[in-house]
Symmetry: C2
Amino acid sequence: MYRTHTCGELRLSDAGKTVTLAGWVQRTRDLGGMTFVDLRDRYGITQLAFNPGSEAQQALVAQARTLGREYVVQTVGVVKERESKNKNMPTGEVEIVVQELSILNAAKLPPFSIEEETDGGDELRMKYRYLDLRRANVRSNFELRHRMAMEVRNYLSAQHFLEVETPVLIKSTPEGARDFVVPSRMNQGEFYALPQSPQTFKQLLMVAGFDRYFQIVKCFRDEDLRQDRQPEFTQIDCEMAFVEQEDILRIFEGMTKHLFKSIHGVEFDGAYPRMTFDEAMKSYGCDKPDLRFGMKFNELNDLVQGQGFKVFEEAELVVGINAEGCANWSRKQTDALIDFVKRPQIGATGIVFVKWTDEGLKSTVDKFFTPEQLAKWAERFGMKQGDLLCIMAGKAGKTRKQLNELRLHIGEQLGLRDPKVFKPLWVIDFPLLEQDEETGRWHAMHHPFTAPKPEDAHKLMSGTELGSVRANAYDLVINGTEIGGGSIRIHDRTMQEAMFRVLGFTDEDARYKFGFLMDAFEYGAPPHGGAAFGFDRLVSLFGHRTDIREFIAFPKNNAGRDTMIDAPSRLDPDQLKELGVASMV
Amino acid sequence: MYRTHTCGELRLSDAGKTVTLAGWVQRTRDLGGMTFVDLRDRYGITQLAFNPGSEAQQALVAQARTLGREYVVQTVGVVKERESKNKNMPTGEVEIVVQELSILNAAKLPPFSIEEETDGGDELRMKYRYLDLRRANVRSNFELRHRMAMEVRNYLSAQHFLEVETPVLIKSTPEGARDFVVPSRMNQGEFYALPQSPQTFKQLLMVAGFDRYFQIVKCFRDEDLRQDRQPEFTQIDCEMAFVEQEDILRIFEGMTKHLFKSIHGVEFDGAYPRMTFDEAMKSYGCDKPDLRFGMKFNELNDLVQGQGFKVFEEAELVVGINAEGCANWSRKQTDALIDFVKRPQIGATGIVFVKWTDEGLKSTVDKFFTPEQLAKWAERFGMKQGDLLCIMAGKAGKTRKQLNELRLHIGEQLGLRDPKVFKPLWVIDFPLLEQDEETGRWHAMHHPFTAPKPEDAHKLMSGTELGSVRANAYDLVINGTEIGGGSIRIHDRTMQEAMFRVLGFTDEDARYKFGFLMDAFEYGAPPHGGAAFGFDRLVSLFGHRTDIREFIAFPKNNAGRDTMIDAPSRLDPDQLKELGVASMV
């Protein structure tokens, strides 16, 4: 047996016991006479004391002095009350007076320090991820992830959801994102695809009468990457039969409330607020508003147009936000806001400011508007002395997007986006379809299996007024992040066919890709719907962070590479030959 | 709301309530006046009663008569005590007197009957798997799987195992089985591989100090398939640091005992029996003996040789089993045993029989052996009157394998392999290496990360007496099926390098494929070991079945095809081009 206790469990009440511990050398302190070693494992740190006395003990001290950082050692000793206690550590009242010490494995000097604050850069940390994961704050991300996965399963299982594994080697049906594919050796010339989601399988499980399904499952998208996107990611995937939207919202509101309570001890009063997609776009310029702070949009077209200010005259939309308490921002600060919105990623031309100082209302467009006019603007925003209005103008969609960025930016600057505050929101009534401006093609806003609202179904069936078709689709947004979403699905072959037609599938193509699903709809498909939640994102939200890679044990970098194992890599030509494929590079 | 209750929950105590139910029409019975419909969902079956009376009710009866099998309907009605109760159903004391009926979806006649005993053949059931899964006995396999997954996680979590997800897109390092590979679009000419197991990642998690890891995870092997093998399969994958073999056996014995108890209410007295690999081979001719019955091998070389019977004289091994109570088997029956072992899959030349009838011992080789000699054989087996000895001879390894097949075959015929009886066994002390007879190359019996027993390590390091190196490796065998296995791992770079050398890796190749692991061993790797359990097999064992496909929602056939979705399939040429690969077929 390598140990009788972990490095996190000994207390004063254990004093006098002879124990065996094993772990890593966190640090060694040589205080002339005494030598101390902090021994670390997943559970904590325990202090080892080496006290020169007898000859045997002097040999132990000498051995202790040879220990480098991160050496793996085993020790036998007696638990003793410490003279100078450390109240910051659970084991801080005791130390082990060492009687035996064995080096289980030596360690080279790690390329960065294994401390909460490390000197290791991103690249180095990823190459030596197994060392990075030793840091207590990194490891705790995975303890959180473990607990959340357990709680999700416990909740869903108690709600009669069955966990069913769906296949990973499936069929390529690229829609939106690209599929990763896998050549089949046994069926040469043919390929499997890795699932972008188990969508069709979970619907088939509903046709199969499984009633309630869930899975915490890896999904794959061959997309260009960024900080919050990985080629493989994990989804809490769920589906329910014989339900309406309301049933689904209730169950998954319950799931997240269960998580908030069990993980953070946070309880929410009443139901989560709901907002239609249209209102979210109008009031926040995006479909995932961050409700930790206000600064709701107000539109000003009726108040500002007809005064000869060209920027407003030519604008489809004039819209602003009120930054409370920011009237005293310096010219430098407001110029920085203008620079922010002028960056190519945002692409705005400028901002009109109105500040209410003790000298009254003052704007950057004073020559076009009277104080009385400004007062009306202020009224619309419920502006108070000390506030700063930021107004933008232009094409409606684009301007809303830009003002959304500005709102988030100011919220950030004002410290209104506290990661420890949680503001959930259901965004509902999404459009079923969106039109590509360039090609005129219709795309499914959610996915092609989403059902229209019953009252809009006739438009889908006839292919008319497609832009106004609303879906029973919903997203759960927390703190401005889309945590999950779903919809009521089509369960009727004729309607599914109409949907594919609207999306520009030929009948043949629809049948080739999704014939199995449409066939299944003819053998008694129940009404059904579901939702999927991005588990990596959900965990990072609960961990008060935004970089999902901190919550993935072995993430890929932005080029899709695992730099630790050096994957992907070239294959042996024989291996490719056996698969019946060739590399064209 | 589609329903107030499921079809499995109404009881006599609900009589008088107005309820809404939804489900599938299991069958319709038209008894002249009355019409009954059995409405089915995942939770049970409830009887709907249509009673012609008023005009409105007559319309309902007429509607009920149009319902086909598997129609999806919703109904509102009043719960009423039945006149003729069905004691075999939990809902059998009540029926619903229908007031409203809506058809939610019609259904074509299913291609096979949705009953426990179906008329659907294997191919048809797989093509319409969503209908096959509606059968109560098939669905119950997935309810079992769900419960087992939950229990496994609860047990391991309570033992401080952290569930960590390891990547699916990794590096190809083919060893033994072939890898499935995935071309990388972003790194053209390079490929990911799908993991055959998360072996190296779980070892890195031990280097990272995670201490105890588990995952219920999909693994992939591009092998030729058979009934109990799928290209993608699920493993309970575990690893522990600072452990010896004994610690690991204790934990996983605990895990399976927890499952036996929580799922089947079965408790085992004391520890599972253990058997060394050598003894298993000697006594049962295989490394996974089925201990539900005896028929242990006994070797007879010393008793049978030197008597001039050529078959025995020329044999390296003469070995037999005692089939108790089979002395009265007819000539036809014993001939069938000979035919069985002569099949090309087994390839034996014959069996020598000795039967002990009321006329005494009688053998098929009476002209070579005296009754006194036969009596000595009988004594070795503890043979009694009424028993039948079956003796085989030839090369030792081959003969043991053949006799193992015969033993299992006779055990089956005698009904000694009851799927409801569970006999677990640890097989321990596996050889580290095995030599390919043809090429002389050494292969890792378990995998190249398995550590030799400390007392045999010097042989590995020096590359001598390799055949006699024992490993700290173990398999859990239940009822003759290998349910899982594992080993203590190498955690020292020098030893890992020696292992790769023995396996014929060049230093360059070892570094290219596993350099990251060997590097990690230099930064403070703790002693560690682990195990992995085939979850599909474990569930099928608990479900008293042998075909793992019955416990996989959407399995592939023996050609690796999913016939329901028709995968794998051809890709769009543009898709391949974007990936930088070409199909050579």
